[in-house]
Structures are given as structure tokens and as C-alpha cells.
Amino acid sequence: MIDPRFTEDERMVLQVVRDFAASELAPIAHDLDINAVVPREAIAKMQELGLFGLLIPEAYGGTSIRAVLYVRVIEELARACAGVAIVVSVHNSIGAQPIFLYGTEEQKKRFLPRLAAREIGAFCLSEAGSGSDAASLTLRAQRDGDFWVLDGAKLWVTSATQAGVFMVFARTNPDPAAGYRGITAFLVERGTEGFSVGKKEDKMGLRASDTAELIFDAARVPVENQLGKEGEGFRVAMSSLDSGRIGVAAQALGIARAAFDEALAYAKVRRQFGRAISEFEATRIRLAEMDTDIEAAALLIHRAAHRKDLGLPYGPQASMAKLFASEMATRVTHAAIQIHGGFGYTKDYAVERYYRDARVTEIYEGTSEMQRIVIARSVLGGLR
């Protein structure tokens, strides 16, 4: 948790990721952001490097690295390009991992090697009318022989135009009394009849990842693609998000570290009143506060990851890491712009992108408000 002592192999993984991020992602991150382009070549290279099988066991083609290393990988990618980092994070933590945790042996064999090698996984929970209140989702699934027929739409799906496998949460029991127990998870493959990608969002940040609507118009999903038991979809979604939240926290941390590095470097060269602004006490204190803020997030993230590695419950700890890291990233990127002054408000400086990229980490995979509810519940225990 405090200082994960990595093995030689783990160190190498981290070094490979760092080198890749520096040489392949950092140079294109600006253009990807401006043009809102998904870097397919870079993603193919990351697939070759094994970055899409990080939480998949070797038996199914992945590498199954420890969570304490996984968060470092996401952090390093986010430091170079937060858009690419979220593609990798969503794929690994809430795209592929639930199939290993909840899938049948047949499903694992069918899907995991593909996801580890060449296909991107997507997670489809939110709808136009259900965000934080995920249990109120309305996408309907009805049994028809050996198929489930899905009708409705999903929103905010990361990698929607790129993914091959979509984990879709649908209502299989329309009785309002069933509530979250009426939800079931399905693995929907690209090319499924009646399933299509809708409007692509024009986002504020993370523009190197695509986010779009999905439309299900009597989409026919074979019964063998049902993930987990009928009515247990909500549990699959929520427990997957525990893992996803550590990834988002690590992404926020990476963005903040990048912004801090830029601010530190800029403060040393920018001169006003006859000296570098890094010589002014206000700047120095601000940088030290940013550094402390960043380290606090790093500690919370590593604690959550460490608990996951030990097989301990880590839901509240993941929420704490995500809540703090995402709000920290907003504070740190905000301060980084302030240190840059007017230059930081232009696209000539990367801090402008970091600020926009950081913002959504307070929203997706559970808003800060939902994290506070999770944490407060763990504090209050059996109150009410």
C-alpha cells in the first residue's frame, strides 16, 4: 500500500508502459484531443503489449497483474493521454474482468482471449433517465426461445464505436417491485442484429476516447450470452464498479501528476518582477500543496488496490480513492492553469487539456455524490 515493492518483472512492465506512453502517446495526445480521434494504431500496439489483458488470468490469454501495479499502469498512461487511459481502464476493469468473475467457463473461453488480444470491451449501464439511480434503468430484455430480445438505449458508453463486446444491463423483470433485482447482465457482440451505435458525443475532455449512445431495436442476444444469474445484473455492475473506480482514481492521479510537472517546470522558467515565479512564496506554497494533495490520492489509491490484492473487501476504499483523487485532479489542474496565467488558458499549453480531462473523473463510474453515499453508508453501518 505505502510503497508496493515491485518485483523485477513488475518493474519491467511499468518501464515498458512508461516508455510507450512517452514515445507513442504523449506526442499525439494534443492532436487526438483537438480532432477527437481514437488512436487505433496506438491501441493496437497496446494490445500487442498486453495492456488489454491486465486483469485476465494467463489461462485465458492475459497477464493478471497485481492491482497495485495495475493502478500504476493506468496512472502512467493517463499522464500521457487520459483519453487512452480510460479506454484501457474501462476495458480491463469493467469490460473484461466481470466476465472472469461472473462468467461460465464456456463464456470465459469464448470471450476473454479475444478481449486480451484484439477486441475492446464496453460497459453499458447508464441511460438517458438513469444515471446515479442506475437501478431504475428501463432497457428491456424479454425471453424468446433461445434468445433474449433487447429494446431500449444506453448512454455514455466508452469505446462504443470501437468495442467488440458490450456488457449490457437490462431489465428482465418489469415488475416495479423487483427493483434492482429485476436486472440481468448480457454480453452483446458487435454485429448483433438490431444493435447499433447512435449519436457520438462531442465531449469537453477525454476526446481521444469515443463515447456514444447504443440503440437496441429488438436486438437478439443468445441465451448463452447472459452473464451471471437472471436478476443478479445489478450486483455484477456494482461490484465491477469497485474495481473500475480504482482505475478512474488512478487516471485522475495521472492527469494531476502531468499537470503538476508542467506547472513546476513552467514556474521555474516564467519570470515576473525580475525573477522566476518559483521564487515567490505564494507559488512555492501552492506547488507544495499540490504535491501533498497528489500524494494523498496516491496513498488512498494504493491502499484500495492493496486490499483488492489481498482479497479483502475494498468497495468503500475504492470510493474514497476515487472521490479524493477526482476532486484532487480538478484542484491540481485548476492550480496548474493559474500558475501558467493567460498561457494556461490556451491550447498551446497542455494544462488546458488536463483541466478538461480531469473534470469527468468526478462524474463517471459514480459521481462524487454517489461515492459519498457509499462512504457514509460504510461509516454509519446499520443506521435506520
Binding site: S278, E279, F324
Partner: protein, 407 residues
């Protein structure tokens, strides 16, 4: 967090927790009100070896590592923040400084009685003008085999009861009265670490042990601060105080090598104290949320309260992790210890102040009442942002390691 701790660390923490409960908690409120020093309590802790918690077993110490010491201080601070502060400075700062850099003669003169708790050590560190600046040394000069010490230290915890003061001083020549020849402004711009090449007189930073009763040493009165009121806080003055030269701790050398380890340990003590205060305030707030309000609903059923609890919990956990990390760095002998301890202290102090503040808020107007059981934590917590140096001073020292230079 548990997974990082050894069985003996967990046992020590448990013992400290029980002791805080049986020995410290009940009387803490009363000692705070009357600003009464916890002499009895400290004697009881001494009998159990706590005053020599990190001390070398060959001198009768317990030999605990910093991690165990930090965990123990957190527990003691939950019972009584004043006691934890005094014991922490005594054991981790004064005893450790002597162990680290005193001559063997000086060690055998002072350590055994300090470790047994028969005499109490205090750190005379903070300068009256130190807000935002690194600690400024008192001034001293040599006269034969004696050092003459002049200056004052403000708000020294444990001062009213201490038998031995650890003083950070600048030793110069008689003519310039230590460093009186260096204009204040230049000292500020060059910083404690920079030696002034323009000044011809040889000056060095030193740590001196000044026993109570030394001629010229004046303690108090000074009014008690609003927090840690039982910690025996008072001003200490050195009116041409005469200290035998052999009361100087050994390695002069690089200025920061003298003050650095002292500050790091003092930061760890205050960081741990802050975590203990924050835990206590937080737990009281949680208990309060399980009560019912006038409408019959649980206080904690409101989102305005839940939000506070969530934010308090996150800050508390991060503060704990900072303490743990700094203590582990110390135990591993890592060079980054000083910086991590400063960071831990900055974060934990701020976190404690905010957590205690929100805890008062959870209690509503009942939280502002003197015997409401919560406002003491609010006052105690704030002192961790001023002690052993201000938060700003700690941030600036961190900035120095990020950026170099500066004051």
C-alpha cells in the same frame, strides 16, 4: 492498513488504546479546563516504559520502531492530545536526538533518567517570529569552556514541567553576540541553510541540552494556548544562559543535518497527534449521528450530515496513511523521511482541523459548549497546524526539496 502492521505493532497499539481509555480519557476534559499538566499520567506511562518507547534497550528503552511509536502516539492522543504531545516530543525528539548525536558521556548522563521518565525532556524549537519561516536558531557564543545562550523560544510544549531542554542554537563569536551582526533581512533571504560568506566570524548551528536550573534559563509564564492546554506550554528565555560546552550534541556540520532529523521526528509526533485528535472527534461525530433529532429522525439520515462524514473519513484515512508512510520511511532509513514527515504533518494537521471543525458542526450548537465534549478537539486540532512549525513553514520546506533555493 492492518495488513502492513506486524503482530507486535498491533499489540502495542492495542495496549496503548486500553491505556488511553483507562488512564487518559476521563481526566482530559478537566485537565484542559484547568490547564493542569498531566504529571501523574506521565509517571504512570513512564512506569510502563512509554517515555523510552524508541530508546535503545541498552539504556533501558523499549526499542520500538517509528511505526509502532506513531501508532501508540495516535492512541494516546485519542485519550489526551496534550499528554501525547509531551510524551512524543520527549521520547521521539529529545531522547532520539541524544541517542543519535550525543557523546557517550552525555548519553549516560541524561539518557537513562529520560528513558525511565525520571526526567522530562522538551523541545525548544519555535521562534516567536517563525510563521512561514523555518525555525530560527537561538543565538550563542563561546566563552572558554562554556556557551552563552541568548534569545527566546515561544510556546514550548512541556516547558512548565521539563527537566531538560533541547535547544537549537546558532553559535558565533562573542563580539557579534552569536549572530547579532547579521541583519535580520539578510538571514531571511539566505535562509537557515545558507551560510553567509560575507560574515567573517565562524558560525555554526548546534543543538544544546540545557537543564532546568541552568543560570539564566527562565521559564514562563506565558499564557496557555487555546489548545493542548494541559501540555505545560510556556515561553522559554535564555538571558545569557550559561551552558557547559560539553552539553552540546556532537555533529555540528551542515545546518540542516543538525535541525533536519529533529524536525522530522517532531513532525511525525505532531502528525500522529493530529490523527489521534481527528479520530476522536470523528468517532464522537459518528456516535452523534446515530442519535435522533427533534423530529425523531437519525441525525445521520440527512445528506448534509452524511456528506460531512464521508469527507471526514477520507481525510482521516489519508492522514493515517501519510503517518504510516513517513514512519515506515524512518524505519527503513530512507533519505526522504524528513520530507514525508513534513508532508504527513501538513496534511494531518489540516485534516484534523477540518475534521474537528465538521465534528462541531455535526453537533450543532451543542458542539460549541465547553463541556459538550467536542470543542476541545477543535481547539487541540488547530494547534497541530502551528506545531512544531507552522504549516506554511513545512510547506516551504517541501517546496525547497521540489524547487531548491528559496527561504
Amino acid at each position: 492498513m492492518e495488513s502492513l502492521l506486524s503482530a507486535s505493532q498491533i499489540r502495542l497499539r492495542q495496549e496503548a488504546r486500553s491505556l488511553a481509555e483507562s488512564l487518559l480519557r476521563e481526566g482530559a476534559e478537566g485537565r484542559d479546563r484547568s490547564a493542569a499538566f498531566p504529571s501523574e499520567e506521565i509517571r504512570a506511562l513512564a512506569r510502563r516504559g512509554y517515555l523510552g518507547m524508541t530508546g535503545d534497550p541498552s539504556h533501558g528503552g523499549q526499542g520500538w520502531d517509528r511505526l509502532a511509536a506513531s501508532l501508540v502516539l495516535i492512541e494516546l492522543a485519542r485519550g489526551c492530545a496534550s499528554t501525547a504531545l509531551v510524551v512524543g516530543f520527549h521520547a521521539l525528539v529529545v531522547c532520539e536526538a541524544i541517542s543519535r548525536s550525543a557523546s557517550s558521556a552525555l548519553k549516560s548522563r541524561h539518557l537513562p533518567s529520560l528513558i525511565r521518565g525520571e526526567s522530562l525532556g522538551a523541545l525548544a524549537m519555535s521562534d516567536p517570529s517563525a510563521l512561514g519561516a523555518p525555525p530560527d536558531p537561538a543565538t550563542a557564543w563561546t566563552e572558554g569552556d562554556r556557551l552563552i545562550l541568548r534569545g527566546s523560544r515561544e510556546s514550548v510544549p512541556g516547558a512548565t514541567a521539563a527537566d531538560l531542554f533541547l535547544v537549537y542554537a546558532q553559535v558565533g563569536s562573542e563580539q557579534d553576540g552569536g549572530d547579532a551582526g547579521v541583519p535580520r533581512t539578510r538571514r531571511e533571504t539566505t535562509g537557515v541553510g545558507a551560510s553567509s560568506a560575507a560574515d567573517a566570524s565562524p558560525r555554526r548551528r548546534a543543538l544544546l541540552l540545557v537543564p532546568r536550573g541552568t543560570p539564566g534559563l527562565r521559564i514562563g509564564p506565558g499564557s496557555p494556548p487555546f489548545g493542548v492546554r494541559a501540555a505545560g506550554v510556556a515561553d522559554v528565555r535564555f538571558d545569557e544562559c550559561v551552558v557547559p560546552s560539553d552539553q552540546e550534541l556532537a555533529p555540528p556540520g551542515e545546518p540542516r543535518a543538525v535541525s533536519g532529523p529533529i524536525l522530522a521526528d517532531a513532525d511525525l509526533v505532531v502528525a500522529s497527534q493530529a490523527v489521534g485528535i481527528a479520530e476522536e472527534a470523528f468517532e464522537k461525530a459518528v456516535v452523534r449521528t446515530k442519535e435522533r433529532d427533534a423530529s425523531g429522525a437519525h441525525v445521520g439520515s440527512r445528506q448534509s450530515i452524511q456528506w460531512k462524514l464521508a469527507d471526514m473519513q477520507v481525510l482521516l484515512d489519508a492522514a493515517r496513511l501519510f503517518c504510516l508512510r513517513a514512519a515506515i520511511a524512518a524505519d527503513r532509513g530512507e533519505a526522504g523521511y524528513a520530507r514525508e514527515a513534513a508532508q504527513a504533518k501538513c496534511f494531518a494537521g489540516r485534516a484534523a482541523a477540518r475534521i474537528a471543525d465538521e465534528a462541531v458542526q455535526v453537533f450543532g450548537s451543542a458542539g460549541a459548549i465547553a463541556d459538550g465534549g467536542i470543542e476541545r478537539h477543535w481547539r487541540d486540532a488547530k494547534t497541530t497546524e502551528l506545531n512544531p512549525t507552522s504549516r506554511e513553514a513545512a510547506l516551504l520546506s517541501m517546496a525547497r526539496s521540489l524547487l531548491g533555493g528559496g527561504s
